[in-house]
């Protein structure tokens, strides 16, 4: 299985420039359903699912590889290589912001601009650094994930995962956008919330836009500003939108902010 199937990659349009959308922890590429169409035509758009999420190939899930964000960044670079990306715009939501930060440094030239929606370089507090969470709270989250299977059932998985060419099969099922194998969900939560990418910010050499929600308990304003200070050529826009998913709750505001930048 190639990288296109592995990551359930969807390419739309055929403009000169490409915009890659990466989803965060929780759901899949559908997170971009209200934002991506606005850029079709002007850009060739690329949507994909991280391995373990959405309609990606679960058999490709390798515990060791995906125990760090590096593993996910390698996949982004692989997708970019397969599509021959140069000077593309990478739009990452939540944890995919840091995946983009890593990917941009792994493959110089592949991405020309970064858009980070609700980024955090580290979720757990550390001395003076305020990430917003304690180690204990993240452990509780991991436990909590076990209580919410999101309708996951091992029996249903083959129907969802075995038909990448017929995604409607999966979409008809409840909660399919956020459905994940509980073990993978837990592992992804662990790598997401336990990562520390503060040291990777300074290495970003391309223009970067940070979209920060006004009230986001996952990535607070302080956390967003920390990322802004860390990335040399970056600007930050504080959205009126609240919550952690402005791409769903306030797509128009997100689109407008992105237009000013790209």
């Amino acid at each position: 299985m190639g990288v296109i199937e592995r990551n359930n990659v969807h390419v739309r349009g055929s403009a000169d420039r490409t915009m890659v959308f990466a989803h965060g922890f929780g759901c899949d590429q559908n997170m971009w359903r209200f934002v991506e169409p606005a850029f079709e035509g002007e850009f060739r758009t690329v949507l994909f699912d991280h391995v373990g999420a959405g309609a990606s190939d679960l058999k490709a899930y390798d515990k060791t590889k995906y125990s760090t964000l590096e593993g996910y960044a390698d996949d982004v670079v692989e997708i970019g290589g397969e599509l021959g990306l140069k000077d593309a715009v990478f739009v990452g939501h939540s944890v995919s912001s840091m995946i983009g930060v890593l990917a941009a440094q792994k493959a110089p030239g592949m991405f020309g601009k970064l858009v980070l929606v609700g980024p955090s370089a580290r979720y757990i507090d550390d001395g003076d650094y305020v990430g917003g969470f304690s180690e204990q709270q993240i452990e509780e989250l991991l436990q909590f994930l076990e209580a919410n299977h999101m309708g996951w059932s091992a029996q249903m998985a083959p129907a969802i995962m075995g038909n990448p060419d017929r995604p409607e099969l999966g979409e008809e099922l409840t909660n399919s956008f956020c459905r994940t194998d509980p073990d993978i969900a837990k592992a992804f939560a662990r790598v997401t919330f336990k990562s520390d990418n503060r040291g990777d910010l300074a290495g970003v050499e391309i223009p970067t836009l940070i979209l920060q929600c006004s009230e986001d308990i996952i990535a607070s304003k302080e956390v967003g500003e920390f990322v802004h200070r860390g990335i040399p050529d970056s600007e930050i826009i504080i959205l009126e939108a609240t919550g952690h998913c402005p791409n769903l709750s306030a797509p128009d505001e997100v689109i407008a902010a992105m237009r000013t930048f790209v």
Binding site: C27, F144, M150, F177, C245
Partner: protein
């Protein structure tokens, strides 16, 4: 005193057997019903205007923001979400929550309705199931590890036990060449008998352990090589180790037998060994091997007391030992292994026992 009317919808909302929360388009709480307020010991003033996730524990908040809120926007509803609401005293209250997004004609969200049910017992039950599954998983992993260690141990043990036995056997052979007196010859013969017997015991023990803990008896079938010489050799060895006893053998093998020759040799050795132990010394042990009607048949018969009915049923069970004189007392694995070898060849091992004779018969298809 008039109570609430059956069609009083206001009362149905406030005093419903489940909790209700309505969120405005900004995601903030617009209304909470009385039932929920009572459950969590809070007032409406405390809750209205706040975000729903403000009343969840941290894990629930993260989950709400990363799963529930996006799903509501994408599919318009969410069912069976397990959450812990924080009651006024700070204690968590387990609930199951369904949510529905109200939309206008253009699909824009107008509000979100949440219905909550207390689920303390259900959640405890689920947690116990999860814990039990986790425990089962761990104990299975432990068992696997132990079983692997055991298999390695058996392999090493087998090797280490056979080596010294080979030295004893070689030593006895050397001594035998120079033996002069009758007594010396007797001692050497006794040594050889013991070595043969010991080797059988080791083989049986290892096979049994492997069969039980590993993948059963494995066969190395070969139809091209003749079986008869192997049987000759096994019986000759048994004759040597039991000098006072008579073993008569008849062969009528005229079709190649697709079998594991070493295993069939072991089967014969076990059956004849058993006949020598239990049969009367005054009558010969009779072995017959033949191919007939697409079958390979091998029988071993001896005279003497018949096997008691009660013992017949348990003969092929491991560690079964009949009444036998102490010097021939084994582990009780010989017949069990023989029956396992028969099974591995898709054959059967049966027994008949009368005052005239006791006969074990192995039959396998020739394929």
């Amino acid at each position: 005193m008039p109570g609430p009317r059956i069609d009083d919808f206001e009362d149905m909302f406030e005093n419903s057997p489940c909790g209700y929360i309505t969120l405005g388009v900004n995601g903030r709480i617009a209304r909470v019903n009385k039932t929920l307020l009572e459950w969590i010991g809070r007032s409406a003033d405390e809750m209205i205007g706040k975000r729903f996730s403000d009343f969840l524990n941290m894990a629930g908040r993260i989950f709400y923001e990363t799963h529930i809120a996006p799903l509501l926007r994408m599919q318009g509803f969410f069912n069976e979400f397990a959450i812990d609401m924080m009651a006024a005293g700070g204690e968590p209250m387990q609930m199951i929550c369904n949510a529905l997004e109200g939309r206008d004609d253009a699909g824009k969200p107008l509000f979100t309705r949440l219905a909550l049910l207390k689920a303390t017992d259900r959640r405890r039950y689920e947690q116990e199931l999860l814990a039990a599954r986790e425990a089962a998983k761990n104990s299975l992993a432990n068992e696997r590890e132990t079983s692997e260690l055991r298999e390695q141990f058996i392999a090493v043990l087998g090797h280490d036990l056979r080596n010294p036995l080979a030295s004893i056997s070689a030593g006895a052979r050397i001594l035998g060449r120079d033996a002069k007196t009758e007594k010396e010859h007797q001692v050497v013969a006794m040594l050889q008998t013991t070595v043969t017997r010991m080797a059988e015991l080791i083989d049986n023990v290892l096979d049994f352990a492997r069969g039980r803990l590993g993948g059963g008896i494995t066969l190395d079938r070969n139809a091209r090589k003749p079986l008869e010489p192997v049987l000759h050799q096994v019986i000759d060895e048994l004759r040597l180790s039991s000098p006072g006893r008579q073993i008569e053998a008849e062969y009528a093998i005229d079709t190649p037998v697709d079998c594991d020759r070493t295993r069939i040799g072991q089967l014969v050795s076990n059956l004849v060994g058993n006949a020598l132990s239990h049969g009367t010394a005054s009558q010969p042990v009779r072995v017959r091997a033949e191919t007939e009607d697409g079958l390979f048949k091998l029988s071993v018969a001896n005279g003497g007391e018949p096997i008691p009915q009660a013992a017949m049923e348990r003969l092929f069970e491991p560690f079964f030992r009949g009444e036998v004189r102490a010097s021939r007392q084994g582990l009780g694995l010989g017949l069990h292994i023989a029956s396992q070898i028969a099974k591995a060849h898709e054959g059967v091992l049966t027994v008949t026992s009368t005052p005239e004779e006791t006969r074990f018969t192995f039959v396998m298809p020739l394929r």
